[in-house]
Subunit: 134 residues, 2 copies
DNA sequence: TGTACTTCCTGTAGTAGATATAGGTTCAAG
DNA sequence: CTTGAACCTATATCTACTACAGGAAGTACA
């Protein structure tokens, strides 16, 4: 027995009310039932889906990927193989991003190290940004 | 002797023409001179600034940070100390982001590992997304 | 000088992915 | 039965750009 108002759903998931309505509008979340007065009434399925969306976004899955995962989650036959492919692809992207950031980290660290501080006319950071050399 | 058209500036920096005009509109780039007919004429200062902006964005500095750096770059007295502070702050953020992604990487890798592939009803990836456990 | 062709101009609109506001309606508690 | 919180729709705002449309300016060549 579900019967969640939009406010309750928001509290339970940590997703803003406006964002929930937005997800419904763009088809990410199924349109819920309504009270005679027009208020939305969500069920446990909505709760599950919304938690799923939030979690996936937190893990860095792009909105389109989340959509794909949601589509795949529906019919049980489609599972695993395809879901796994999305996850693997995402994993590769994460690894690439880590590499990029690590290079950047070294670059920045070396530059900041070289920077004496104080009011000297030529600054290592500005220099790096202008020339590209750390 | 500068005298670059917007198209030439775009070619030399790799920044789209529309984006250059946008930067001018939001005050990121100084308004250039104009020909009698109204075409923009940029000089070497614009070229330098635009390259700077591009490089900083590529290094992951947020637009607001780039703006700060541009403001600091102007008067030579402001240099180093403040520029260094922005760079250090950015470095900290980069390190934090690397940590987050590394955690995510382990999480995803463990999950994908656990996933047999094939058409089984319960999928490790979906499971992770629903429960948060890898 | 004429004509053709490229480049540039302004202004507006669109994009994703939300978030915020305005003005009005419904629900629930006392 | 009133009051106040929660909810409704519709529209606007945000960031950081990108993409037109329709017209004017610059340039190359005969």
């Amino acid at each position: 027995m579900g019967g969640l108002s939009i406010g309750e759903l928001a509290r339970r998931t940590g997703v803003h009310i406006e964002t929930i309505r937005y997800f419904e509008k763009i088809g990410m979340l199924d349109a819920p039932d309504r009270t005679p007065g027009g208020h939305r009434v969500f069920d446990d399925g909505h709760l599950r889906t919304l938690k799923f969306i939030k979690r996936a976004r937190e893990l860095g899955f792009a909105p389109t990927e989340v959509r794909t995962l949601l589509d795949l989650d529906g019919p049980a036959e489609a599972c695993c193989d395809e879901v796994r492919a999305v996850a693997v692809h995402h994993l590769e992207e994460v690894r690439r991003k880590i590499d990029d950031l690590t290079r950047l980290e070294r670059h920045l660290a070396a530059t900041v190290e070289r920077c004496s501080g104080g009011h000297v006319p030529d600054c290592a950071v500005i220099d790096m940004l202008e020339t590209g050399r750390p």
